[in-house]
Symmetry: C2
Subunit: 361 residues, 2 copies
């Protein structure tokens, strides 16, 4: 693996080139008993450099953190060709301003990442337990997931599918599409996996769920099948704009209420899956044809503003790019937006790096 | 507690004013079953705002992270009086540049923190186990601490005292000062505390340590007494300049070799305690009188450069302030130093915030 320059299990770090794929890195690290925690759904096709540039998240974030929590140091090339080394190989380090963190999620507007020193975790043995629980409606499922977090339980994965998602996934798998129910798919890992799974199942039953639990890998895959069918199921409904709002975990049920309101008021269908453990929702706006029609953007606008009202953000893990530039100042405020532009200008005074991205011209 | 504006155990967050003392905050949070992990040794007299401004660390960092890992959002006032809200209440959020992280550890040169949304952890029940292990010399103790980390064990606290520290602490407590031995004081916490303590004790015995373990609180305090006597013991030796280098964990034994070399070559005494779990060392330069004499700074200079050679940093958790300004460019490189000054100028064009701090005039 020639893009992995160094692996130090004793220091829990690896030095890599940015072009290595996330999944390839973790395959190689497994042999050393360590792993890099960020797990975007795209991990088999996305690079570590891309994960850093977007500040990527994934399914495991509530328990294992996001990219920001998993990078020690970066080598970057600035717009004028100068190369800088940012950060430390040590766990701690507070010399000057934290430019490593500033680069994480900066979407290529400050410089180009050409090397990364990653903070690893040790692989912990234990049987993964999988839980699937259906609820009469999405609000009940969202409330149940909040109850799991509030009970002090920490699943590795906690995914929520609303009724439209669930029906589409069932149809794709040749199953009865069901009623208006919603699904929580949960996994626990580590040494206490079985006890945690039992405790979570109890919380879910108390919250009105129909619950299945298994520590058997094949049975676990069966329980995961509907969640895994999510993206192809969305494609079966039409063209999809996958959105990415995030709210405090306790507001998840209210955010689903807002999505239902936006569906009603704008006459659009927005099947939604959520990383319920961390409050990150992916509403899927469904439409026909290759271009996003204007009414879909109106509905998205309404939905973004609802997330902001609930104390959330218009992007949990996908970033701003081009599509969300026009909402950035709504979240940041004009003063902070101006300040961020000025910081970009310090790194890239002629605006040659990713022009037009993040900050609208 | 009128400086705590909001506590949300369900969202694992608290909103506070920066003037609240770290220990007072954690006393209040305990009633809600949650805590804020950063635990600088100064926690009974240091404010959360100060902890954020310095990017503080502490004893628990290897297991529970530093301040950078424990802040979701900040309210800041800029030099021109404008107020900004940075960050999110949600776990995830990637809107624009991560100015929250940029403010953490910025030592007051970018703006004034007037509010903070903190990321909390849930208090986990379990008996704390304490381990004390003496080794024939500091190199053996450092190697043993690296072996604990390399074995995949994660103590909550792992403190290392060298021979001079240990002898001074023993004298202060009226004990025999001993030979040239060194001490590791370790704690485990959480549900698996007892099993982890046993596993760590086994690693330490294999590494040549004389080991005591206890799950009894009074006995634990007895085992901690020497470590707790550390700072008064240093004061009994003379005036102390407490330094703060950090190295990758695997280089800890080499860093102790370098400290012994600096002691020999400069004719100074540098008793050293280390947060061995994260590679952060506090060498104590001992001298007479109120001012740091020039030869002590020469020795410190030699020691800082040794830490940098080992892939470390000249400050793990204390920051740059005034005393370390002249070494900052040595670690950052001139290009990065210039760039950091330019970023400061974006926030504070007239240089009125903490003038002369961090960046030498």
């Amino acid at each position: 693996m020639d893009r992995i320059l160094e692996v130090r299990p004793d220091d829990l770090l690896a030095v890599v080139e940015p072009g290595i794929l996330n999944a390839d890195l973790n395959d190689a690290l497994a042999a050393e008993g360590v792993w890099w925690a960020p797990d975007p759904a795209s991990r088999s096709i996305s690079t570590v450099g891309g994960n850093i540039a977007t500040g990527a998240g994934g399914l495991l974030c509530a328990k294992y953190g996001v990219v920001r929590d998993a990078v020690l140091a970066l080598d970057v090339v600035l717009a004028d060709g100068r190369m800088l080394h940012l950060g430390h190989r040590s766990v701690k380090g507070v010399t000057g301003l934290d430019l490593t963190s500033l680069f994480i999620g900066s979407e290529g507007v400050l410089g180009v990442v050409v090397g990364a020193t990653l903070k690893l975790r040790r692989l912990v043995p234990g049987t993964v337990h999988t839980i699937a629980a259906t609820f009469p409606d999405v609000r009940a499922a969202a409330a149940a997931s909040s109850a799991v977090t509030a009970a002090g339980l920490q699943p590795s994965i906690m995914e929520l599918m609303d009724a439209t998602c669930l029906a589409a996934a069932r149809r794709l798998l040749g199953l009865d599409p069901g009623t208006d129910d919603a699904l929580l798919t949960i996994q626990t890992d580590g040494a206490a996996s079985a006890a945690e799974a039992d405790a979570i199942a109890e919380v879910l039953r108390t919250a009105g769920g129909a619950v299945e639990v298994s520590g058997d890998p094949d049975e676990g895959e069966r329980l995961l099948a509907l969640r895994r069918a999510m993206h192809p199921a969305m494609e079966s409904l039409g063209t999809t704009l996958i959105e990415d709002v995030s709210v405090p975990r306790s507001r998840l049920a209210e955010m689903f209420d807002e999505i239902a309101r936006v569906e009603r008021e704008h006459g659009v269908t927005i099947p939604t899956v959520a990383h319920a453990g961390d409050g990150n929702l992916h509403p899927n706006f469904i439409f026909d044809g290759p271009e996003v029609p204007a009414p879909i953007w109106d509905a998205a606008d309404d939905l973004f503003r609802a997330a902001l009202r609930l104390g959330g953000t218009l992007t949990g893990e996908h970033g701003i790019g081009v599509l969300k530039r026009r909402w950035l100042a709504d979240e940041l405020g004009q003063d902070q937006w101006d300040l961020q532009r000025q910081i970009k200008a310090v790194f890239d005074p002629h605006g040659i790096l990713n022009p037009g991205k993040v900050f609208a011209p």
